[in-house]
Symmetry: C2
Subunit: 262 residues, 2 copies
């Protein structure tokens, strides 16, 4: 640390985060919590109040949420949507099966509300570049339940907790360029911090009264893991939360509250 030697170091609020490498390949039926145990231990362990950030792709793979496009027969709806957006109709069929509403379908863009209640491109379905692009990965069916299971398995490493687990995906967003990591599954902590009715120290009414803290933690995970190195796990230390486990549903705006879905 670049501290001048004659100055006292004031230690205030601080956070530390690190990437956890060494997980290796994950396949259907694998015990992801167990695969991560040794890497977690050799990368600093876990302490109470830690948050483990997990990229959804390894969760999806362990849960067998992988499909081969060769076995997919597109419906007439999928054919029509595929024609409009300019995508493989079999891919569109999977995207529609993973959705409960289409939000936008335009050339090059297919935004849906997923079966999990998320709003994102392509229902979060990722396409592989290998094997002729035949393999696609879908989001975990119940990411909060996946996060709860991982948390339960890792709790003992964190001396019984508190312990947060955040499962992430990378979402584009309206108005801003650059996708960001967001929390699609949350366990052990609230996904949203609520400051409603509070004022700041100068008496300004809080401009934004609820904060998507789990999304901000997901963002740290992205910065630590990077996009191309295949690191699926990171630990964030130093965040203190208040309130109970909400699940990631607290981050989902209900359609009737969303002026951009009308």
């Amino acid at each position: 640390m670049a501290v001048e030697s004659d100055r006292p170091l004031v230690v205030g609020r601080r956070m530390l985060g690190w990437a956890v490498e060494g997980i290796g390949e994950v396949g259907p039926g694998d015990d992801l919590a167990e695969l991560c145990r040794e890497p977690l231990l050799t990368h600093g362990g876990l302490a109470p109040w830690d948050v483990v950030v997990v990229t959804h792709k390894v969760v999806s793979k362990a849960e067998g949420r992988v499909r081969k496009l060769s076995g997919v027969v597109p419906s007439s709806t999928a054919l029509a949507v595929a024609n409009r957006v300019g995508q493989d109709p079999r891919m569109v069929e999977v995207i529609l099966q993973e959705s409960r509403a289409v939000i936008r379908a335009e050339p090059g863009v297919l935004v849906t509300e997923t079966v999990q209640g998320l709003v994102c491109a392509n229902s979060g379905v990722d396409r592989s570049n290998v094997g002729g692009g035949e393999e696609v990965t879908c989001l975990p069916l119940d990411p909060d339940a996946s996060a709860r299971r991982l948390r339960e398995s890792w709790l003992e490493i964190a001396s019984g907790g508190p312990l947060g687990v955040v499962i992430t995906d990378t979402f584009g967003r309206p108005f801003r360029e650059g996708a960001v990591n967001v929390a699609i599954g949350v366990a052990g902590m609230p996904a949203v911090s609520d400051h409603r009715g509070l004022s700041d120290e100068l008496g300004y009414l809080l401009h934004a009264s609820t904060i998507g803290t789990a999304d901000e933690i997901a963002g740290i995970g992205e910065l630590l893991m990077g996009k191309i190195d295949g690191i699926p796990l990171a630990v964030v230390r130093g965040f203190r939360w208040e309130g109970a486990d909400s699940g990631a549903g607290a981050l989902q705006r209900l359609p009737e509250r969303d002026i951009f879905r009308r």
Copy 2:
């Protein structure tokens, strides 16, 4: 750190962040860079590759971007919009003066494209709770220029850099509950990381090919500073960027590229 004593600690990619307290009250004409110098030094100093995260409110105040509503005369447009959204017409007048387009105006919601090109609620204008709510704070007129000036002043503390500076505000967003910190001014680093054309280690085409890394760093700032403690400054250490200073404009989606503005 909760590391079992017989296990080697694997040190991988890691980041550290801390809040910088002790800035005190900031007023019009203050030299913000100078006000922050001593607190920065006593809170760990700065090293090359650090990113300093600054909440926009102290930047706005130092730059005199504060207005009293008592001196504001609402136009007929402001009166009509105020009637629709249910806000003080003088506040709406300031919001419209700070905007170049209205994106949504509905009861309780006024989303604009600001003169800076940002899309957010109320043109980023914050209302004070003190003095009868007469004082409002506007966004810095050119947040990238503000970030560049701060960076220039702090560069010597960071041994000449590289040094990033990110000026933040807290924005709500479509589809998701909970506002998050975003980067409205950036200096010394790219605001967006570009992975276009790359595949991940398993050959998946990158699902999200540009990442809003400066927004993710802004989020760390929010987690460190909190909303009610009046801490305007944080340092993030351990992020390595590639590419040149882009300004926060790289995070602004052009209206013609934005399907949610059509």
